[in-house]
C-alpha cells in the first residue's frame, strides 16, 4: 500500500480552502454531553448515547473491519468500553464524540493487532465529508491543524491516526524511523494546538 498524498486534495485528507471557510463560518451546535449521566447510572442517557454515537461507532468499525459479524462484535466491545469509562470523559480536553472515537479507535486497533493484522488504509479512507466536518467541531479543528503541517508531517500523522506504528509508517513511506518520529511530534503538536484554539474559540 503506497499512498500519494500530494496531488489529490481529497486523498490528502484535506478539503479545499473554500469549504474550510464555509465550515468555519457555520454555527456550531452545542451538544450536551451524555457520558456524565451514563457514569451516574442514568439508563435514559445510555439509550441516547447509543442513538447519538451508534452510527459513528458503526462507521469506524466498518472502516477497520471487513465482515458484518466482526463489525457487530466490535460495536459491542466498543460500547462496553464506553460505558465502563464514561466517568473518565473530560469535556475540557475534548468533545464527547472525540472521546468515543478515541475509545473506538483503540479497541479496533487492538482487535486487529491481536490477530496479527496491520491496519490498512486506502485513498478512499482519507475522504473528508462536509457533513462530518459540520457535525464534529473537533474534526474541523484537527483538519485545520493538519493543513498547517508539511506534506511529510501530514502523511505521517494521517497514517498514525489510522493505527499504524512508527516503524510501519517508516516502512510504508520509505523514511528513516527518526524522520517519522520528528514528523509525528511536530505534526501532532500542530493538530493539538488547533484543537485547543478551536475550543477557546467556541
Amino acid at each position: 500500500m503506497m499512498l500519494s498524498f500530494g496531488q489529490n486534495p481529497v486523498a490528502r485528507g484535506i478539503m479545499p480552502n473554500s469549504f474550510m471557510k464555509r465550515a468555519s463560518d457555520g454555527a456550531t451546535a452545542s451538544v450536551v454531553p451524555l457520558l456524565p449521566r451514563v457514569a451516574s447510572g442514568d439508563s435514559l442517557a445510555v439509550r441516547e448515547c447509543l442513538r447519538r454515537y451508534g452510527g459513528l461507532v458503526g462507521s469506524l468499525a466498518r472502516r477497520f473491519l471487513k465482515t458484518p459479524a466482526d463489525v457487530e462484535e466490535a460495536c459491542q466491545d466498543i460500547f462496553v468500553a464506553v460505558w465502563k469509562n464514561a466517568g473518565m470523559f473530560d469535556p475540557v480536553r475534548g468533545s464527547e464524540a472525540t472521546f468515543v472515537a478515541m475509545i473506538a479507535r483503540r479497541r479496533l486497533i487492538d482487535r486487529l493487532r491481536s490477530r496479527g493484522v496491520q491496519p490498512e488504509l486506502s485513498a478512499s479512507d482519507l475522504t473528508v465529508s462536509a457533513d462530518t466536518l459540520e457535525r464534529y467541531v473537533d474534526a474541523r479543528a484537527a483538519v485545520a491543524g493538519l493543513e498547517q503541517c508539511s506534506e511529510g508531517q501530514r502523511q505521517v500523522i494521517l497514517l498514525a491516526s489510522h493505527g499504524l506504528t512508527h516503524p510501519e509508517i517508516a516502512d510504508e513511506l520509505s523514511l528513516p524511523l527518526g524522520t517519522v518520529k520528528s514528523h509525528y511530534a511536530r505534526g501532532i503538536d500542530l493538530v493539538k494546538r488547533a484543537l485547543q484554539s478551536g475550543k477557546s474559540g467556541q
Binding site: G13, S30, V32, P33, P36, R37, A39, S40, G41, D42, S43, A45, V46, C49, L50, R51, G54, G55, S59, L60, R63, C75, Q76, F79, A81, W83, K84, G87, D90, P91, V92, R93, G94, A97, T98, F99, A101, M102, I103, R105, R106, T127, V128, S129, T132, Y136, D138, A139, A142, V143, I157, L158, A160, S161, H162, I188, V191, K192, L195, Q202
Partner: protein, 214 residues
C-alpha cells in the same frame, strides 16, 4: 483508562474521515442498551454520614477461588483486621477533611463558591448551553489530580458531575466553560471537589474544596 492528548488528537483526525453514519440495527441497539444499563446500574449509590451521595464502581465479578482457600486461617483474620482498620481510618479522615456543607439557594448570579475558611475561590454562572466557571484562587492540582464541578437543582442526592478541570499552576482568574447539564436547569447548589489520581471516586461529597453559599 488513561489517555493522552496525542491520542485524542489522532481520534479527532480519524473523526474527520468518518463517512456515512448508519444508525445501529434495532436488535443490536437493544442488546447494547441492556448491557449498558447493567453496567451503569453497577454504580452503587450510598449515603454517607455527611449526607453526600457517593457513586463508586461496583466490585468486578471474580472467578471463584477453590474452597480450601477460604478455610479459616490466621492470615485471613489478620488481613480482615487490617482492612477494617484502613476503612475506619479512611472514614475518620473523610469526616475531618470534608468541611460541613450548607446548601443555600442562590437565585442571583453569578453564584460564589467559597472554601472552608469562607474565602471566595470561584464564581459560576449559567448560560444557554454551558456553565461558566471563573476561578479566583485555587491551588495547583497535583499530577493526575483534577478538580470537578458538581451542580444540583435541589437536594444533594440530585447532584450531577458537570466536568473536570485542572490547574497546572495556581488558578487565578482562570475561566472554564463546562457543558450545561439538562438534569440541572436551575443552579441551586454547587461544589468543587478534588478528584485524586489514585481514586476513581465519583463522590460529590468527598474532598470538597469549595461550596456555593454566602
Amino acid at each position: 483508562m488513561k489517555y493522552e492528548d496525542d491520542e485524542l488528537a489522532e481520534a479527532a483526525l480519524l473523526l474527520s474521515h468518518v463517512d456515512r453514519e448508519v444508525p445501529l440495527a434495532k436488535a443490536l441497539e437493544d442488546k447494547l442498551f441492556a448491557e449498558g444499563v447493567q453496567i451503569a446500574s453497577e454504580a452503587r449509590h450510598t449515603t454517607s454520614r455527611l449526607g453526600a451521595m457517593e457513586v463508586n464502581d461496583a466490585p468486578r465479578a471474580t472467578r471463584s477461588l477453590p474452597r480450601n482457600l477460604w478455610a479459616p486461617h490466621p492470615a485471613w483474620y489478620a488481613a480482615a483486621a487490617g482492612v477494617a482498620l484502613v476503612v475506619h481510618q479512611a472514614q475518620i479522615h473523610r469526616l475531618t477533611a470534608a468541611s460541613p456543607v450548607v446548601e443555600v439557594a442562590v437565585p442571583t448570579f453569578p453564584a460564589v463558591l467559597r472554601d472552608a475558611r469562607g474565602i471566595e475561590v470561584a464564581r459560576v454562572a449559567s448560560q444557554d448551553a454551558e456553565h461558566i466557571l471563573q476561578v479566583q484562587n485555587l491551588p495547583a492540582s497535583q499530577a493526575g489530580d483534577r478538580y470537578q464541578l458538581w451542580i444540583s437543582p435541589g437536594p444533594r442526592a440530585q447532584a450531577v458531575p458537570v466536568g473536570f478541570f485542572t490547574c497546572k499552576e495556581a488558578c487565578a482568574n482562570a475561566s472554564f466553560r463546562l457543558p450545561r447539564h439538562p438534569a440541572a436547569p436551575e443552579l441551586r447548589s454547587a461544589w468543587i471537589t478534588l478528584s485524586r489520581a489514585e481514586e476513581r471516586s465519583l463522590a460529590p461529597g468527598a474532598h470538597i474544596v469549595a461550596t456555593l453559599g454566602n
